[in-house]
Symmetry: C2
Subunit: 133 residues, 2 copies
């Protein structure tokens, strides 16, 4: 019986993990971002949300001084981020060159989030389908 | 030509509004919530996000003292909220009784977001399809 209960409990936990994996937006903000090698790249500074369909479109990363870049904002399509429960952070599966050449903006300048072409270029760069499709 | 350009511009704006309607999570937080009568009910305190599919599952409302209730947290399924650009806030299309009897939790007590049954009851109460379906 103990084994059965344990098995049930594990199955329940797995199911819960697969189905519900809720996190508060203010907890995502501040979460570390790593590359595949486990090197910390920066942190999630903000999330951009589509008001109409309720999907997170971008996680805006702050990569302060990373790779010789100044403090800048990297909007990463949500689908490029994988949450790794082991390290308690997001892993970006791309090499440094890819990240270095990625579309970015600085805080003072800002960015026009409503610019369809800009959004498309961003997704094209990372090779992921636009979130609105 | 001027009219044509204007028409194009308007069409472009409309398209942009329909397609891109991005808002930063930290801007959603703090946004006012109204009932249909235009009465302010409270504010969005936090958003709960499904880490796996990137969807906003709940907007957690803080209704301080509303309807004689103490300060409490109301997790509202995202689909129950409509953004009204005219008033610059979210409108909850339900009457006071519905809202008063809604599942809630207090900040000290917290809530188990991973509890599948609790999530289901919450959606059932509001009569909307669970976000994970």
């Amino acid at each position: 019986m103990t084994d059965l209960r344990t098995a049930r409990s594990v199955a329940g936990d797995l199911r819960a993990t697969e189905t519900f994996n809720l996190i508060a937006a203010d907890k995502v903000e501040g979460t570390s971002v790593y590359n595949r090698g486990g090197e910390k790249l920066g942190t999630v500074e903000n999330l951009m949300i589509d008001k109409l369909n309720g999907r997170v479109s971008y996680a805006v990363m702050s990569f302060g001084g990373f790779l010789g870049m100044g403090e800048s904002r990297h909007p990463l399509p949500w689908d490029t981020l994988k949450y790794d429960t082991g390290i308690g952070g997001y892993v970006v599966d791309m090499d440094s060159d890819k990240l270095r050449g990625a579309p970015t903006y600085d805080e003072a300048q800002g960015v026009n989030w409503e610019d369809r072409d800009w959004n498309k270029r961003l997704h094209d760069y990372y090779g992921v389908a636009p979130y609105w499709m």
